[in-house]
């Protein structure tokens, strides 16, 4: 398998000046403080993967993206993306990547969106046929044609974000970084973005998404990386994550044939909700078959249902459990 991103033990610190409290004169002498934004983070992303990066505010997500896009250089560790050192070989590397910062635009505010896209057509060296073909494809997902000739400053925030996304994707980059891409996007546009990322996966193109929106990750990614306080806590595929999350068995029964065995099953469950002849059991994925077999032999089953938690809930529970240790 081709590796598109390989980062080994990367660390990055920032120096900040902190104002001192306690009087006017103390405030005039700010204190210098070093913050370690990333601590020995390693990761590998294979070609065609879509990886979601999540974490609380200040966990190092955006710093990671800036390092991987060559905007800043690591204090320590090595990065190789598409065969390039992003910082040292930035001018060659960035031809092959697309980056969208949800909160930073680079569109002409006075001019229609189309004219900003025209600038990027030239920046990425696309001929007119390639430009129109790519724009047609992106329009299927982001529907920008209806407002293509409107001045950017007259667009709604969501339209502007879609315009920004199109400007970043115009050259069909092999590697795409989306930093908070769906800020300001409505539900339909967010779903379209997820569809586009899935489309990229089908084309063997790699995408890295930094977001707080777990739904977007659930809809579009096959792997999740959780950062916390600059460290990588989780790096796991969503399917593996789903296997590790317990399942809910909902059971309605008429009579118990083997009371002691029945009570033993309930006692071994992770949690039990019981009301008359209606029981909800939380059992580990590995124990699922064994528990179902035991239940059907211990009682007269009227209805048995196994509920899989939604991927969104799986991610949420997984992150919560991991952070709690």
């Amino acid at each position: 398998m081709v590796i598109d991103i390989r980062a080994c033990n990367i660390s990055r610190t920032y120096k900040i000046k902190e104002q001192r409290s306690g009087g006017f004169f103390r405030g005039l002498r700010p204190r210098s403080k070093t913050i370690q934004a990333l601590k020995n983070v390693s990761m590998t992303v294979y070609r065609g993967e879509a990886v979601g990066i999540v974490g609380l505010n200040g966990s190092g997500k955006s710093t990671l993206v800036k390092l991987l896009t060559g905007i800043i250089k690591p204090d320590q560790g090595t990065i190789n993306c598409l065969g390039y050192d992003p910082f040292r070989q930035r001018s060659r590397y960035v031809t092959n990547i697309g980056v969208s910062f949800g909160q930073k635009t680079l569109l002409y505010s006075d001019l229609p969106l189309r004219w900003s896209l025209e600038l990027y057509r030239v920046v990425y060296g696309l001929n007119r046929d390639q430009f129109e073909a790519n724009l047609d494809l992106l329009d299927v997902f982001f529907e920008v044609r209806p407002f293509l000739m409107q001045p950017v400053r007259k667009l709604s925030f969501g339209q502007r974000v879609r315009g920004d996304l199109v400007a970043s994707l115009l050259h069909s980059p092999q590697l795409l970084f989306l930093d908070e891409p769906n800020i300001g996007l409505d539900i339909l546009s967010s779903e379209s973005l997820a569809k586009y990322v899935r489309y990229r996966r089908s084309q063997g193109k790699t995408t890295l998404i930094v977001t707080h929106d777990i739904e977007l990750i659930a809809q579009s990614c096959d792997r999740l990386i959780l950062l916390d306080d600059g460290k990588k806590l989780i790096d796991q595929s969503l399917s593996a994550m789903k296997l590790e999350v317990p399942r809910v068995i909902e059971l309605i029964y008429s009579q118990v044939r083997a009371p002691s065995k029945f009570e033993a099953i309930l006692a071994n469950a992770l949690s039990v909700e019981r009301e008359d002849h209606h029981i909800k059991l939380l059992v580990a994925q590995n124990d699922l078959d064994k528990v179902i077999q035991a239940l059907t032999s211990a009682c007269q089953v009227l209805r048995l249902e196994i509920k899989s938690p939604s991927i969104k809930n799986v991610i949420h529970d997984f992150i919560t459990q991991t952070r709690l240790g």
């Binding site: 920032y14 120096k15 505010n57 200040g58 955006s62 800036k66 896009t69 060559g70 905007i71 800043i72 250089k73 930035r90 001018s91 060659r92 960035v94 031809t95 990547i97 980056v99 910062f101 909160q103 930073k104 635009t105 680079l106 002409y108 006075d110 001019l111 004219w115 025209e118 600038l119 990027y120 030239v122 920046v123 990425y124 060296g125 001045p151």
Partner: protein, 268 residues
């Protein structure tokens, strides 16, 4: 091969920048029209100022009134070129401190070229052209003769002076990579630009030397005007300007490369 492609792409980006700037001007026609009028008034006041000097104080050593008009033409041209093509240079430090440089660094052209292309304001050139042509024509009529080679060389020197001033502003802005806000660059270069409104020949020898060999102010208007109204050789000026251009280019590039290694963007 790659370097040619890079240069070609940069030139193409400049060309699109100019086209988009013209499109923008079409959207703001009234503003462009008002620009002509305000520039004519501005130039009128300067002509009046020098007229008062010549009529009430006496002569300015080395200058006739016609020569001064040509000097004013170059001064206007220099200011227009600076504002039209390099307006972003003085505020470049803000991109570094507020982290907006990020969005330029992720594109496959030189970030500085993209910043300039996106901030071209050709209207500054267009709005001064009538005034500059009037000043040159009037100065020519009063001066009874112009050195054409000197005029063309003067225009090139004034354009290069604008480029060198931009390099100076950029070099100062890049210090923002280390020390944060560099608003001082704006104030310093503003002070230098004020000096282009007076011929450097009226200044002391040390100041004149500094403004001719270190800072490009002497080449904004004084040297170009002197070349146009006299038969002086163009080579000393071309040589000095070339040296200054290479020096500032090297210093600017060095500071940029070193500074990028210090870039911290901003959180989030």
């Amino acid at each position: 091969m790659r370097i040619f492609l890079y240069i070609w792409r940069t030139i193409s980006v400049f060309w699109v920048g100019i086209r988009l700037n013209v499109a923008r001007m079409a959207l703001f026609q009234t503003s462009t029209l008002l620009g002509f009028i305000s520039n004519a008034v501005h130039v009128g006041f300067f002509v009046l100022f020098w007229d008062i000097i010549f009529n009430n104080i006496g002569t300015v050593p080395g200058w006739s009134f016609g020569g001064i008009l040509i000097y004013l033409g170059f001064s206007e041209l220099f200011f227009a070129i600076t504002s039209a093509f390099f307006g972003a240079a003085t505020r470049f430090h803000a991109l570094i401190t507020n982290g907006r440089l990020d969005v330029y660094l992720i594109r496959p052209v030189d970030p500085r070229a993209l910043v300039f292309a996106m901030t071209f304001r050709i209207e500054y050139i267009i709005r001064v052209l009538p005034s500059v042509l009037f000043l040159f024509a009037y100065g020519w009529a009063l001066n009874q003769g112009l050195n054409f080679i000197g005029l063309i060389t003067g225009i090139i020197l004034a354009s290069l002076a604008a480029l060198v001033l931009a390099l100076l502003q950029l070099t100062g802005s890049y210090l923002g990579f280390w020390i944060g806000s560099m608003k001082a660059v704006e104030e310093f270069t503003q002070a230098l630009i004020v000096l282009t409104q007076y011929p450097t020949t009226i200044m002391g020898p040390w100041l004149r030397a500094i403004l001719t060999f270190v800072f490009p102010i002497g080449y904004a208007a004084t040297e170009p005007a002197l070349l146009t109204v006299s038969n002086n050789s163009i080579f000393p000026s071309v040589l000095a300007m070339s040296g200054m251009l290479v020096g500032w280019l090297a210093l600017s590039e060095l500071t940029w490369r070193k500074g990028l290694g210090q870039y911290e963007s901003y959180g989030g």
